[in-house]
Symmetry: C2
Subunit: 196 residues, 2 copies
């Protein structure tokens, strides 16, 4: 987000600010209902100042959801590469990492989770999200096959419940929250259970 | 939803149909962005035909979120009245019941969870929702105090994670799903944990 240097004399109107405001507006009023003109108005600049940074509204969405999905994909690559670990440990680490990524990229992840399939740009984002969901579901299946995770629940259902819980964090998590403590709490509840 | 009989010769334009279409539109495009005229247009009737059933858009929202909140409150009353049960059992049953209520009132619960505080009618709905959330949080605290639920996690955090998982069901649950099996899966994951 720092490829383009802030323009002299226009503090805050650099590319990062454009992406930040676009994320806020897309999340609040929907991607479909937000125009590049709205982003410009919110920043107090002209539309052409926005087009200086990004070629289109589609690119704005792609950049923001890309930030969330790239971070999540990298975290999963990292976990998946630990071949010495069991599938159960890898799954637990994947859940942990997805909480940490969510907290570190909160606005981008929140937008990603609110995207609907109304436009081609949104459908492309949903397709990429579905690929990540499928990777996570595959990790659940491996952990079940290994015997580390209970086999009396459908692996796809486990995956939906687990990441439904993780994704619900966007409803209330604030940027100053201790992401590691939160990640520990989520994995403790999910894997060890609440009962004493 | 059957207080007002369907008007003769206008099948499908009874009060239940008005509420159903209002719920769909409020959920899809937001309460704020939806007018009574939109509801009328979707049903192919005049605005005055809508006002025959409900006095205002605010009442439409109140009725729909009321359906969800009344069902949830009744279920919690029911569980809370079982004084012979332990607090741990009551909490488990409350989680179970909230899944069953969610599945039985899926459109109303989905709308309730998407309501933002933009208007007084929405803020009233959020206030009522908050009361239910506080009841659930109190049940978690009782179960922790009793020793049935782990004390190494903050009860408020447990409550948010638990009902975050339950509420995330609105993202993918379909009306033909077996609600009892789903409720069992949710309580098993949450209380017994995924690890073998």
């Amino acid at each position: 987000m720092t490829e383009s240097a802030p323009r002299r004399g226009r503090p805050g109107h650099d590319q990062a600010a454009v992406l930040r405001v676009a994320t806020e507006l897309f999340t609040r009023q929907g991607y479909d209902a937000t125009s590049v003109g709205d982003v410009a108005r919110e920043l107090g600049v002209s539309k052409s100042a926005i087009y200086h940074h990004v070629p289109s509204k589609e690119h704005l969405l792609e950049r923001v959801v890309g930030e969330a999905l790239d971070a999540l994909s990298e975290a999963l690559d990292d976990v998946s590469a630990r071949h010495a670990d069991t599938a159960g440990t890898r799954l637990r680490d994947a859940v942990r990492s997805s909480v940490v990524v969510l907290a570190a990229h909160l606005p981008a992840v929140t937008l990603l989770l609110r995207v609907h399939g109304n436009t081609p740009a949104e459908r492309a984002a949903l397709d990429r999200r579905r690929q990540v969901d499928q990777r996570l579901a595959a990790m659940v299946r491996e952990a079940v096959d290994e015997g580390a995770v209970r086999a009396d629940l459908d692996p796809l259902l486990i995956s939906r419940l687990l990441f439904g819980m993780v994704n619900s964090l966007t409803e209330w998590v604030r940027p100053d929250l201790d992401a590691d403590a939160l990640a520990d709490a989520v994995t403790t509840l999910a894997f060890d259970g609440l009962s004493t």
